[in-house]
């Protein structure tokens, strides 16, 4: 039996190798199938799916084969008899090993002697003639699986030959479109504009001569992540909004909500409400409230800075200015004498000079803050809209072949609702902003500037810091010199102005009118006549002399 064990070990080793090869074949077939299915459904996962399926099935298949076909002693003996020409001596020895008898003893002796004369190498290694061809076929299937047309379930896409498609040219056109779109929109932050231009250039460079959809998808994914990351850095409305919501004052909480939502009309209304409440206060109550507001704004800004907002951020600066202005109202010298202007007008009897000046300053400060905040939020909304549009355009660059899911440039432009805020702040500017500029006759204590006229549009950056109370006569009697409602700065034509000499001009007022009309309707003002009136006042001025434009 010792000699039989010698051969048995060899046969079992051979069986293990055979099982491994069979497992490998099964694994390759399983991997091929998994890769084909992945390419048809989820191409980026194809390689990993194939590896996992291959390893699992190779192990399971190999083990199953090993277990199911493990040779018994009898089978090994029969094989030895056949291959070594032993005339069934081995098989007889194994089958009758439990029985005794003279002939059987002789038979065992004979079998053992004969087997001992045979060297182990006399039994040639054999894995079965079918194993190698089967393995070759499995390998061929595995290799072929990598050539599966992606999205092959689409009969149109499957006909597009990747090698014949001009990837570089189409990609270049798409990147150019995206570049143009970025450059045409001046409402977004300039650094964001530069960043987008740069990342589009990098994307184009990375996608050049690359027709592997999986790799292209990865490149685009990285670029989209970079855009999101940069957008998060330059947009502060969410952080400041959250910080304001933590404060006690309800007006600040409301502003926080609207900042987070990017709701500019709502934000303007919040400022209006704040002014309305403030204007109801007098004396010490007014002073205290202004101080509390300033404190809470400063506190919120400090939290925003902790959340990552830069102190150079425009929105941060807007609120910082508002806090400073409110602080100046708190620190105004007390004067209990009623103002002459108030006495003459007969309104606000009992108001002190302090109250009057404080109200004027608050009105001006809040109006300016509302305008600046709306402008800032508008820009951040534009940033978001632009980021979304560019990411969408990038998506179509992954597989620009006709018929693919992400292909086509139609409808991918960034013409989103981001254009809305352009006209928003201009129409809302008819609230507290118009007051001080037209009525203020005394010394202006607030941050009244030349851009505070009615119809002041958007982010007038010329507004400087608060003017010291009483230090400068007001200039609100001057007609507003702003661009008029709806001037978003991006209109490509001018208003039609029929001048005396027969020339024709086009301006932004006409564009803004459309926005104003829409906004009025959105806020329940269905009086189109007023809107039209505003339009013509802005176009030709309050006195009909064309001061608005």
């Amino acid at each position: 039996m010792k000699d039989f064990e010698r051969f048995k070990k060899k046969v079992l080793r051979e069986h293990i190798i055979k099982s491994a090869l069979v497992g490998l074949g099964i694994g390759l077939l399983a991997a091929a199938l998994a890769i084909v299915i992945s390419f048809l459904t989820n191409p980026p996962a194809a390689v990993w799916t194939g590896i996992i399926a291959g390893v699992l099935f190779a192990g399971a298949g190999g083990y199953y084969y090993w277990y199911k076909t493990k040779p018994t002693d009898k089978k090994i003996a029969l094989r030895l008899d056949k291959k070594l020409g032993l005339h069934e001596k081995c098989a007889t020895m194994i089958e009758f090993q439990e029985k005794e008898g003279a002939i059987l003893a002789k038979q065992r002796e004979d079998a053992t002697t004969t087997l001992a004369e045979k060297p182990t190498k006399a039994l040639k290694f054999s894995v079965g003639i079918w194993v190698i061809p089967a393995l070759a076929v499995a390998s061929a299937f595995f290799t072929a699986a990598f050539f599966t047309p992606q999205n092959a379930n689409d009969p149109y896409t499957s006909r597009v030959d990747s090698s014949e498609f001009d990837w570089n040219s189409v990609t270049s056109d798409m990147v150019s479109d995206a570049m143009s779109h970025v450059n045409e929109n001046s409402n977004i932050a300039s650094e964001f504009q530069s960043f987008l231009s740069q990342i589009l250039s990098e994307v184009q460079s990375d996608l050049t001569d690359n027709s592997n959809v999986s790799e292209r998808s990865s490149i685009i994914g990285d670029a989209q992540s970079a855009i999101d990351s940069f957008l998060d850095q330059i947009n502060s409305k969410e952080e400041i909004g959250k910080a304001l919501k933590t404060e006690q004052d309800q007006h600040l909480k409301d502003q926080g909500d609207d900042l987070i939502a990017g709701d500019i009309p709502g934000l303007r209304q919040d400022f209006q409400d704040l002014y309305d409440d403030l204007s109801q206060l007098e004396g010490e109550a007014l002073r205290e409230y202004a101080g509390e507001l300033a404190d809470q704004i400063d506190d919120a800004l400090a939290k925003a800075v902790q959340a990552g907002v830069s102190e150079d951020d425009d929105l941060y600066q807007t609120y910082k200015q508002l806090a400073n202005w409110l602080r100046s109202i708190e620190e105004m010298p007390t004067d209990t004498q009623p103002s002459s202007g108030e006495q003459q007008s007969g309104s606000g009897s009992g108001q002190t000079n302090y109250d009057s000046k404080a109200h004027e300053a608050a009105e001006s400060a809040i109006a300016q803050a509302a305008s600046n905040a709306a402008s800032n939020v508008n820009q951040q909304n534009e940033n978001e809209a632009m980021a979304s549009a560019i990411k969408s355009m990038m998506e179509s660059m992954i597989d620009p072949r006709p018929g693919s899911e992400a292909s086509g440039t139609e409808g991918s432009g960034p013409t989103t609702e981001g254009s809305g805020p352009v006209s928003g702040p201009t129409t809302e500017a008819s609230g507290p902003v118009s007051g001080p500029t037209t009525e203020a006759s005394g010394p202006v204590s607030g941050p009244t500037t030349e851009a505070s006229g009615p119809g002041e549009s958007g982010p007038s950056t010329e507004a400087s810091g608060p003017v010291q109370p009483g230090s400068q006569p007001g200039s609100g009697d001057q007609p507003g010199s702003g661009a008029g409602p709806g001037n978003s700065g991006e209109n490509s034509h001018t208003d039609i102005i029929y001048t005396g000499d027969g020339t024709v001009e086009y301006g932004s007022v006409i564009d803004s009118y459309g926005g104003a009309y829409t906004d009025d309707h959105a806020h329940g003002d269905t009086d189109d006549g007023d809107t039209a009136d505003d339009y013509f006042k802005n176009l030709y001025g309050e006195d009909g002399q064309g001061g608005g434009k």
Partner: protein, 329 residues
């Protein structure tokens, strides 16, 4: 155990002696001698077929001398009657002058029977051998007589001269364990035969084995192990001679009219065990089965018109069957 080992030793020696004695009278015919010896040890009957002068009768006569057993020869002719074979009751006057019946034993009451040219007797006479060949006993006038063991019938027949002959019925053919074909000798063998018979036609073989020794050898051979795979292989071969089964091979369906009986399976395994011992092995191999397939199946299967038309002999068909069966090993 030692006794058995001694028996194994004696078996080989006895077989060698028998073969040596037979070769004193028979030139060549190695396979024929082997098959006959196997049949003798197994207790089977043998039908020897060959053209005249190939030594069929001489082989049996020589065997009779070698085995030290009562030998009788029956020359089968068309007018031979059953009683001439089995024996008959005769009326005889005893010492007192009374008439009594007395059974006069026929030639079948020897232990080695040579049924020479068995196909020349009528079927009625041939049938007289049926019972004694299978059951080693005969019944005459309602009385059964049991033969002494070992008992063999060795018959001869001429395949060429068919006029006035009576082909053996299948039932009788099946009772022969082997049908051994004696081929025409080669030129050197012919020369040896001529030289051997120049001075005397008498057989030169001497007695080397007796009846009890044959019985011991038979008992010993029954203990030779045969694995299941070999038995299955033999039975598949037998089963595969039947064209009526769906699972049989194309060869069978094409060339065989009807197949062999279960006795073929018994003969294959029994003969294979003895053949293994004769060849110095202690177990039955596939080769033993293949080798004995020819004498065992030769007279048990009937080839059809297709085989005859294509010029295939019965041995060629058996060869095709073996080749087919080897695929199932």
């Amino acid at each position: 155990m030692e006794e058995k080992e001694q028996m194994i030793q004696e078996f080989s020696e006895s077989v060698a002696k028998i073969k040596a004695e037979l070769h004193k009278d028979i030139i060549g015919q190695e396979e024929v001698i082997d098959d006959v010896v196997i049949a003798i040890i197994a207790g089977g009957n043998v039908l020897l077929e060959g053209v005249p002068g190939t030594g069929k009768t001489r082989l049996v006569r020589s065997l009779g001398q070698t085995l030290d057993l009562p030998f009788s020869r029956i020359q089968f002719t068309p007018d031979l009657m059953p009683n001439d074979v089995t024996g008959t009751n005769i009326i005889r006057k005893d010492d007192d002058g009374n008439l009594t019946t007395h059974f006069q034993k026929g030639p079948i009451f020897a232990q080695i029977i040579l049924a020479d040219e068995i196909n020349r007797a009528t079927p009625k006479t041939q049938s007289a051998l049926l019972e004694v060949m299978q059951e080693h006993k005969t019944t005459v006038a309602g009385k059964t007589y049991v033969m002494q063991e070992p008992y063999f019938v060795l018959a001869t027949q001429n395949p060429i001269e068919q006029d006035g002959t009576y082909p053996l019925p299948e039932a009788q053919m099946d009772r022969f364990m082997f049908k051994v074909a004696m081929d025409f000798p080669t030129v050197p063998e012919l020369a040896d035969i001529v030289n051997l018979t120049q001075h005397s036609q008498a057989e030169n073989a001497t007695k080397v084995v007796d009846g009890p020794q044959i019985m011991k050898m038979r008992a010993l051979a029954q203990d030779v192990p045969c694995i299941k795979e070999v038995i299955d292989y033999a039975m598949t071969l037998v089963h595969n001679t039947h064209p009526e089964f769906d699972e049989t091979s194309e060869v069978t369906k094409k060339y065989i009219r009807y197949g062999c009986s279960p006795r073929a399976g018994q003969a294959l395994i029994t003969g294979a065990k003895i053949r293994a011992l004769i060849h110095g092995n202690y177990n039955v191999s596939f080769d033993d089965i293949d080798a004995l397939a020819f004498p065992v199946l030769r007279h048990r299967i009937k080839i059809n018109y297709n085989a005859i038309n294509e010029g295939l002999s019965i041995d060629k068909v058996i060869e095709l069957l073996i080749k087919e069966n080897r695929k199932n090993r």
